[in-house]
Structure formats: structure tokens, C-alpha cells
């Protein structure tokens, strides 16, 4: 023993068992921080890989820059790879066709597939000369062609014949557009583009070597060549995640992590401080004795802080192991359970950044949490040791009243120390406020991420000009295909309205029975059945800024339509005109017999590409078959991941609440154990003791609930209005389920919290409890 501070280590080891709660508090804080940052780190790795896959591994493109000038970049910067790229008929709106379907033409160099989009080439090789072309997999499926086949592309300038030398994968965009794509050698592309009079929009893709100085390199290039933002386009997503852009995803992600960490740190400080405080209260005479034998206030403070840091040292290894295991489980659930865009989440890796930040934040948390207890310990008068005046000397007089004495005493303990009551109430209330505020996110997810809507189609069929050419007989045929679950069509017409102050034109859309049934989930006001069953009755989807109300009328083509219901949401994106939904009967009555503009299909589980091929086989070649399955899976996996995050966070808040309440009550009992020992000595039995402690515990719980609700509900309402009501028109209501859950958690925890300490007190001899300080 070389210094008095060694006492901290010796004391921490000696009290390892009795200070389990403190250790557990510190460990939970460390686990939470490491988990949050490890997950951010894993998400960073995963997002980087995903962005490279989706957006390409390029940093900038040069646009409208002469060839020689663009290629001079090789001499001026640390360029790792570069290639030329150009496209025409990207929107499929020109008469450039393959097998009479519009086709998008891309011209590039081999480096595009070897350096920038490594996984894109799924079969074959890059065109070696002007007579070869790569096609996308959608073209392979639609046309049934193979490597070595010859395809002919019709253009206004004539026909171009190519040998298929391979296939490239589709993106969710090309699938949703049902697009055909041909990739040509860059020289051949130039020949075709020139012959067809296409204005060239050459892009030069560049990947730099040193990722850390990209920002500076870009600025230098712009300055030396006089290039503007029009000339230099950044890969915002990739640069963003690398921290090289200002408006980016990863900054947001770190922001969320920072908010979570602040909450965790606050909760951690609350838990650890409470537990250390109780330890100090329990050892008043001990600190008094230290002061008696010559310890200064600063020395006592240092001892308390050092002891807390010793527990931190004990908690870090366990915290790192547990949090890493938790992250592995979460990553495995995301990668294998949810899949989709999360399929690439790394499983089994260790995040040293997460652990490092966990240790750092854990240390800061413990130092902050130990400040108040250390001050309290240092303030103990040395006379406390000689007089034995540890605690409870200044307690006010208890009002026993008519209630049973143990309950009256328990209630008295709640109000005896105002500061303690305020701290306990505030900490319980904080849990309720956090839970209520974050529960708004559940409603947000349900509304913002549309894939969980029952009406989301897997396949949509329509003509490129959205003409009403899809008959009900086609819908019937489609229903006959194995694997098709639902087929639902919509008639559509953009039409003028009369005698209506609120709109001049509307998008009138028809619904069939199943679509009306689905719409019920989004009903704000009114009667959907009226619109479904009565002609002339319509429903309108809420859009921010629209002023339609129930009972409003409008005349369309001489027929009066009355608004019978308002929806919070609809499958249609907001256009400049209001979307009005009516039954097929109403639509036909206004415009005569009509075909569908769009037919949507949902597939049964387990049915996939074969069913899509069957669908394709019975529709007209000119019909666009928009395959939304991949996009849906991506959104679906995002929805699931967000749900896991939000529910996980709420569970974490609930868990901290339970733990904190049990801890606080336990500590409060420890601080009074001499008093309780004395009460036992004069005849208080275990059930009376339990009543007393339960009354105290419930007292804190109830006051916490009252304050928590008083502060949490207005905050919930404000947050709800800002994020939900403004966008979907759903009025705020008291969130009874969430409120009952968190109040239930608080009160049950408060009730259960009394059991452990009572059992512990009863298991000790009265004499030991009386002289326990």
C-alpha cells in the first residue's frame, strides 16, 4: 500500500458483492454505449459496401468537359481509376427499340465494370469490339436471348446488329420501369449516338486513391480548371458516408447515435449516481472516521471517485463482451432474419471504435455520476463518526393519521426529504417522458413507410401513356394464374370540375371492393361504405393544404359528387390536383364504360419469377410490367429495421426504468437499514416491513407517474402534431396503450422493488442490522 488512494481499490474488491448493483449500473451504461456505437460502426461498414454497390465506387464525375481536359486529371490528382460513360433514351421516350420495346443505350469502358460497379456484370464479358453488346437481365427474361445470340436495335438512323456478349444485373429502377438496357463499347456508342443526332452528355467517372483528402482535391481541380458544380458532380452518398460531404446520411446517423448516447449517459448518471449516493449514505460514519483520522475533503472526494473508477474497470471487460454479443445478434437478425438491404450487415466483427467510445463515455459517465456522491461523502462531518449521527436526524415528524402505522411511515418517508422526493420523482418521470415521446415514432413508421400497407402491389401493369386499355377480362385472366393473390384495377381520368370552389381539376380514380376495404384503415372521417355502395359518393385523401370537408360537392361531367369520407393517406402521390376516389359504378356512370388504366397484382407467398413470366405471357407486349418486388423488399426491410430500432429503444427505456426503480428503492432501503433494524428490534414483523417499504416505493412511483404524465403528454402531443398530424392529418389523441404500458411498468416495478430489500433485511440478524453502519 503506497498511497491512501490504494484504499479505493482494496475497498472496491472487498465490497464487490455488496456493490453488485453499482457494478451492474456501470456495466449497463457501458454495454449500451458500446452497443450503440458498434452498431453505428457496423452500419457504416454495411452502408459503405451498399453504397458502392448501388451508387458505384466513384467519387466525382466530370460533365461537359472536353476529353483531353478531363483526362488531364490523371496528371493532377491521385486518380485510382477513371472511365467514360454516356447514355441515351434513358427515359425510354424515343423510338429506339429492341424487338419493338424501347431500350436505353449505355456506352462506357471496361473499367466501369472492373473498378466502379464490380458486381454488375453477372454473365459474360465486356464488349471487345463494336459488334458486341451487353444486355440487362430484364432483357434476358423478356426476350429470352442468351450469350452469343444476335439482337437488332432499331433506331431512326437505321438498324444496328450486335452479338450478346453478356448480361448485367438490374437495378430497382430498371425493374420498376420494366426497361431494356444495352451496354456498348464507348466508341461504338459514339457512332450510334452521332448517327441518331443525339447530343452527347459525356461523363468521366473518377475514383481517387486517398479518401481523406478528396474534398481538397475536388476544390483544387475546380479552381485550376475553372469548373463549376455543373462540371463536377460528387457521389454525394459515398462521399457523405466518408464524411466528405456536408449533407449526408452518416452525419445524421452519428447525430442519432449522439442523441441515444446522451440519453444513455443521462440514464447512466442517474442510475450510477443514485447507487453511489446510497453507498455514501450507508457509510456516513466510515467517511466521518476518515475525516477524523485526518483525511481532507478533497481526499475523500478522490477516494469516492477512485472507487467508482475501479468498478468501471471491472465493468468494462464484461460490458465489451456482452455488447459485442448483442451487436452480433442484432446484425444476424438484420442480415439473416430481415434481409433485403440489410443482408450485408457484418456478423461476427468487433468494433474497436465502439469499444473505445464505450470506454471513454463510460469513464466520463462514471466521473460525472461520482461527482455528487463524492461531494456528499466529503461533506460528512468528522463528528458523524464519533456521535453515530449518520442519517435521519433531521427528518420531520411523521403524521400517522388513521392509516396503518407501517403504511403511514412509508408515506412519511416519501415526503420526509424533499430533495430525495424531487430526485426520485424526476428520475421516474424522465423514463415516462422518454417512453411517451419516442412512442410517437411507432405511428411515424406506420405512416411513413408505405410497404406495410395492404394495398402495396408486387406487379403493376399499365401502358406507357397510362391510356385506359386494360380490360376487366384481362383482370379476370390474371386472377386465374397460379400464384396471383389479388388483382385490382383502377380507372383514372384527369377531369375538370364545376361548382366547386376548392378545385378546378381533379384526378378521379375508381376503386373496387377490395381497395375500399383496404382504405378503411386510413379513414379519418365519414363513411367509406357510402362511397363504395352509392353512386355519386366519393372519398378524398388528406393532403397538407387541402380544404375538402365531408359533404362538399362538385359537378363532373354533369354528375354531382359528394364527399362521403376523408382518408389520412392514399396509395397515390400528391399531384397538383386533388385525388378523388369513387366506385367503378360511379366512374362508369360519369364517363361510360371504361377500361382500367392500371392493374395491380399481389403474389402469393412462395411464388416469384415464374408467376411473373406467366403474367407477362398473357399481356400485350406494349404493356409495361413494373416489377416492384425488389423495391418492396427494400422498403419492407427498412420498415422492419426501423421497427426493431424503435421497439428496441422503447424496450431499453422500459428496462432502464425497471432497473432504476428497483435500484433506487433498494438503495433507499440500504440507507435506512439501521432504522429498519431498530424497528424490527422493537417488534415490526416482515409483512409490516414490506407494507412500509411498498408504501414508500409506490409513493415515489405515483408521484413519478403524475409528473411524468403532466410533462410527457404535452410533449407527446407537440411531437405528434409536428411529425404526424402535419403530414397525415391524424389528430392527436391521448396514447392510452403506451401510457398504460409505461405507468404499468413503473408501478409494477415499484411494487416488486420492495420485495428484494425486505427479504435481505429479514435474512440478517437484528443486531447486525442495528450496528450495520
Amino acid at each position: 500500500m503506497r498511497s491512501y488512494l490504494s484504499l479505493a481499490g482494496i475497498s472496491a474488491k472487498a465490497h464487490r458483492r455488496s456493490r453488485r448493483v453499482t457494478q451492474l449500473c456501470i456495466m449497463i451504461a457501458v454495454v449500451l454505449v458500446i452497443s450503440v456505437f458498434s452498431m453505428v460502426d457496423f452500419e457504416y461498414m454495411h452502408m459503405t459496401e451498399k453504397l458502392v454497390r448501388d451508387h458505384g465506387n466513384w467519387h466525382i464525375t466530370l460533365n461537359h468537359v472536353p476529353k483531353e481536359e478531363a483526362e488531364s486529371v490523371w496528371n493532377e490528382a491521385d486518380v485510382k481509376a477513371a472511365c467514360w460513360y454516356d447514355t441515351f433514351n434513358y427515359r425510354l421516350d424515343q423510338p429506339i427499340c429492341l424487338d419493338s420495346r424501347p431500350i436505353c443505350i449505355i456506352g462506357t469502358e471496361e473499367s466501369f465494370f472492373t473498378d466502379f460497379w464490380k458486381d454488375m456484370l453477372t454473365e459474360g464479358r465486356f464488349p471487345q469490339n463494336g459488334s458486341e453488346a451487353l444486355l440487362n437481365q430484364n432483357a434476358e427474361n423478356i426476350l429470352g436471348c442468351r450469350v452469343g445470340d444476335t439482337v437488332v436495335i432499331q433506331t431512326p438512323a437505321g438498324e444496328y446488329s450486335y452479338t450478346v456478349c453478356g448480361f448485367v444485373s438490374d437495378t430497382s429502377y430498371s425493374l420498376a420501369q420494366d426497361a431494356l438496357i444495352a451496354v456498348l463499347d464507348y466508341t461504338e456508342f459514339g457512332r450510334m449516338a452521332e448517327a441518331n443526332g443525339q447530343s452527347r452528355e459525356m461523363q468521366y467517372y473518377i475514383q481517387f486513391k486517398k479518401s481523406l483528402s478528396i474534398k481538397k482535391t475536388i476544390a483544387n481541380l475546380k479552381a485550376s480548371h475553372g469548373w463549376t458544380d455543373e462540371n463536377v458532380a460528387e457521389n454525394a452518398a459515398l462521399l457523405g458516408i466518408m464524411g466528405m460531404s456536408t449533407d449526408n446520411y452518416i452525419v445524421g446517423l452519428y447525430g442519432v447515435a449522439a442523441i441515444l448516447v446522451v440519453i444513455v449517459v443521462l440514464a447512466g448518471i442517474m442510475m450510477i449516481s443514485g447507487s453511489l449516493n446510497a453507498g455514501v449514505a450507508q457509510r456516513t460514519e466510515y467517511y466521518g472516521m476518515l475525516r477524523c483520522i485526518g483525511a481532507g475533503k478533497r481526499q475523500v472526494k478522490r477516494l469516492v471517485r477512485r472507487e467508482a473508477l475501479h468498478w468501471l474497470l471491472l465493468a468494462i471487460p464484461a460490458g465489451a463482451v456482452i455488447s459485442t454479443l448483442i451487436c452480433w445478434v442484432i446484425c444476424a437478425v438484420l442480415a439473416y432474419g430481415i434481409g433485403g438491404e440489410w443482408a450485408g450487415m457484418p456478423v461476427g466483427r468487433i468494433s474497436w471504435i465502439g469499444i473505445g467510445i464505450g470506454v471513454l463515455v463510460g469513464t466520463i459517465t462514471v466521473i460525472l455520476a461520482a461527482a455528487a456522491p463524492a461531494k456528499r461523502a466529503a461533506a460528512v462531518s468528522p463528528i458523524a463518526a464519533v456521535s453515530g449521527s449518520g442519517d435521519g436526524q433531521n427528518a420531520g415528524m411523521a403524521k400517522l393519521g388513521k392509516a396503518p402505522v407501517p403504511i403511514a411511515l412509508g408515506v412519511h418517508h416519501v415526503f420526509a426529504k424533499k430533495k430525495n422526493l424531487i430526485l426520485m420523482t424526476a428520475s421516474f418521470a424522465l423514463s415516462i417522458i422518454l417512453f411517451l415521446t419516442f412512442s410517437v415514432m411507432i405511428t411515424w413508421i406506420e405512416n411513413a413507410l408505405t410497404t406495410n400497407k395492404p394495398y402495396s402491389p408486387d406487379i403493376s401493369l399499365y401502358y406507357s401513356d397510362y391510356s385506359a386499355g386494360l380490360g376487366s377480362d384481362l383482370a379476370d385472366d390474371l386472377r386465374g394464374i397460379a400464384g396471383v393473390k389479388h388483382v385490382y384495377g383502377r380507372m383514372h381520368r384527369l377531369t375538370e370540375v364545376e361548382n366547386c370552389e376548392k378545385a378546378n381539376k381533379i384526378d378521379l380514380i375508381s376503386y373496387d371492393e377490395i381497395q375500399f376495404a383496404w382504405a378503411r384503415a386510413d379513414l379519418l372521417h365519414g363513411d367509406i361504405d357510402a362511397a363504395a355502395n352509392e353512386t355519386g359518393k366519393v372519398i378524398i385523401a388528406f393532403e397538407k393544404g387541402t380544404a375538402f370537408e365531408l359533404g362538399d360537392t362538385m359537378d363532373v361531367n354533369g354528375k354531382t359528387l359528394t364527399v362521403a369520407a376523408l382518408l389520412s393517406d392514399s396509395p397515390f402521390s400528391a399531384g397538383s390536383n386533388p385525388t378523388v376516389i369513387c366506385s367503378e359504378e360511379t366512374f362508369s356512370e360519369i364517363f361510360g364504360a371504361c377500361n382500367y388504366s392500371v392493374i395491380d397484382l399481389q403474389l402469393k407467398k412462395g411464388y416469384g419469377d415464374e408467376t411473373v413470366a406467366d403474367i407477362r405471357s398473357i399481356v400485350d407486349d406494349k404493356v409495361i410490367l413494373s416489377d416492384r418486388r425488389e423495391g418492396n423488399t427494400e422498403t419492407n426491410s427498412t420498415y422492419l429495421a426501423f421497427s426493431v430500432l424503435v421497439y428496441g429503444f422503447l424496450a431499453m427505456v422500459a428496462m432502464i426504468t425497471v432497473f432504476h426503480i428497483i435500484n433506487s428503492i433498494s438503495m433507499s432501503v440500504i440507507a435506512r437499514q439501521r432504522q429498519y433494524g431498530m424497528m424490527r428490534a422493537i417488534g415490526m414483523d416482515s409483512s409490516q416491513l414490506r407494507q412500509m417499504i411498498t408504501a414508500e416505493s409506490l409513493g415515489y412511483g405515483i408521484s413519478g407517474c403524475l409528473v411524468g404524465c403532466a410533462a410527457g403528454l404535452p410533449l407527446h402531443a407537440w411531437f405528434y402534431r409536428a411529425t404526424i398530424s402535419n403530414y397525415w392529418g391524424i389528430a392527436w389523441q391521448i396514447p392510452w396503450p403506451q401510457l398504460l404500458i409505461i405507468i404499468g411498468v413503473v408501478l409494477c416495478s415499484a411494487f416488486v422493488a420492495a420485495r428484494g430489500p425486505v427479504r435481505r433485511i429479514m435474512s440478517r440478524p437484528v443486531t447486525e442490522a442495528v450496528g450495520s453502519l
Binding site: 500500500m1 491512501y4 484504499l7 472487498a14 477524523c292 483525511a295 481532507g296 463528528i383 463518526a385
Partner: protein, 226 residues
């Protein structure tokens, strides 16, 4: 040579009708190396006197001068350091640090003073106190008498000029009590330390060189006999 000088020391708790005069204008002096006992009924003001002399409590009036220093003229930090270096405390219920062994308990006040413990003196003290065999034992592994001997060792180790003992034998049987008092007298003589000890035990009080009685807050110097 005079070590302790107590001048008109008074302590009143509360005010007005609720005022309790725990000590009323107590004055006395102790010479270096003197062994004095304070006797009196429970609640008579003995402990208040000891706490005031030790600088644990502040007086309503009067002064305490130890080795020429008025301890109440010192600020809290200076008083802590002064107490650490000049006053040794021995309590009725020992108040050892439960996690430290006998040897560590004894040298702890010196460590608080950021000094290196004098190993030779430690060995000598352990020998005098009969604790050589028990130096590595925790307080919970020692008998009451042994624990009080450790407490005496702790009070002596920093070589304070004044040792204040509050009923050091209150928790011990008669044999252990005799032994502890013998050690206290022996060591204080050996190291020329002044001892002021509260006791209820008439026989122990009689063994002191000087006896002070406190009754209803009034101190009377009984000299060498009671």
C-alpha cells in the same frame, strides 16, 4: 512544558428556550506527556469537550490552543492537516477501516499525509502493541482488544502530540481494558505524548495522572484523585 490550553470553552446547541448548554466555560491545561482522564455522567458534556479539543466541532465561545496554535483560527483545510499531524483519535467502537489489515490501518493516516510510512517505527509499534503476529489480519479477524490495540497504533503512528480517547475500553472486558490502558500509558510515556481519555471506569480513571470531571457542562479539575 504546556501542550494543551483550553480557555473558557463553551458549547450551546439550539437557541432561545430550546438552548442546551453542553459545556460551560471550561478551562484547563495539560502538560506534554501528561495522562489525564475525563469522567462524568452520560450527557454531562464529556464527549462535547473532546470533540471541541479535537477540532471536530466548533465552540460557541472560548479557544483551544495545542502546541501554541489556536486551532479555531485555522480554516477547514488547515485544521484537517493539523489534526492529521498533531492529534490521534481512539474511539470506543474502534472505527477501523474494515477492508484494510492491521498494518495498513495503522499507517493509513501517514499515507493521507503523502508521507512514506516509517517501516522501522511500524515494526516497533506492532511489537509494543503485541500485534506482530496479527499484522496481516483484517479487523474482522481480530478480537475486540486486538482491534483497539490497532486503533491505538493508528493514533500513535503519526507521532501526534495529543491523543484523544473516547471511552477506549467501553467495548472491552476487564482484562482487555487493563491491557489497553497499560499500553496507552506505556506508549504515551515512551513517545512523550499527551493523552486525554474519557472513561466511565473508576479504576481506569484512578490510574490517570490527573482527573477532570464534567457535570452539567461544568468542568472541575480533580487533580490526581477522585
Amino acid at each position: 512544558m504546556q501542550l494543551l490550553e483550553v480557555n473558557h470553552l463553551s458549547k450551546t446547541y439550539g437557541s432561545g428556550d430550546a438552548a442546551v448548554h453542553a459545556l460551560k466555560s471550561a478551562s484547563f491545561t495539560l502538560q506534554k506527556g501528561e495522562f489525564a482522564a475525563v469522567v462524568g455522567e452520560s450527557g454531562s458534556g464529556k464527549s462535547t469537550l473532546l470533540n471541541l479539543i479535537g477540532g471536530l466541532d466548533t465552540p460557541t465561545a472560548g479557544s483551544v490552543i495545542i502546541d501554541g496554535k489556536d486551532i479555531f483560527s485555522l480554516n477547514d483545510k488547515e485544521l484537517t492537516v493539523f489534526r492529521r499531524r498533531n492529534i490521534g483519535f481512539i474511539f470506543q467502537s474502534f472505527h477501523l477501516i474494515p477492508e484494510l489489515n492491521a498494518e495498513q490501518n495503522i499507517m493509513f493516516p501517514v499515507l493521507l499525509d503523502s508521507r512514506r510510512p516509517d517501516e522501522k517505527y511500524l515494526d516497533e509499534l506492532l511489537h509494543v502493541l503485541g500485534l506482530e503476529e496479527r499484522r496481516s489480519h483484517l479487523p474482522s479477524q481480530l478480537s475486540g482488544g486486538q482491534q483497539q490495540r490497532v486503533a491505538i497504533g493508528r493514533a500513535l503512528f503519526s507521532r501526534p502530540a495529543l491523543i484523544l480517547a473516547d471511552e477506549p475500553t467501553g467495548n472491552l472486558d476487564s482484562e482487555n481494558s487493563r491491557e489497553v490502558i497499560r499500553l496507552l500509558k506505556e506508549t504515551s510515556q515512551k513517545y512523550s505524548q499527551t493523552v486525554l481519555m474519557i472513561t466511565h471506569n473508576r479504576a481506569i480513571a484512578q490510574s490517570a495522572e490527573r482527573v477532570l470531571r464534567v457535570s452539567d457542562g461544568i468542568l472541575t479539575d480533580l487533580g490526581r484523585c477522585i
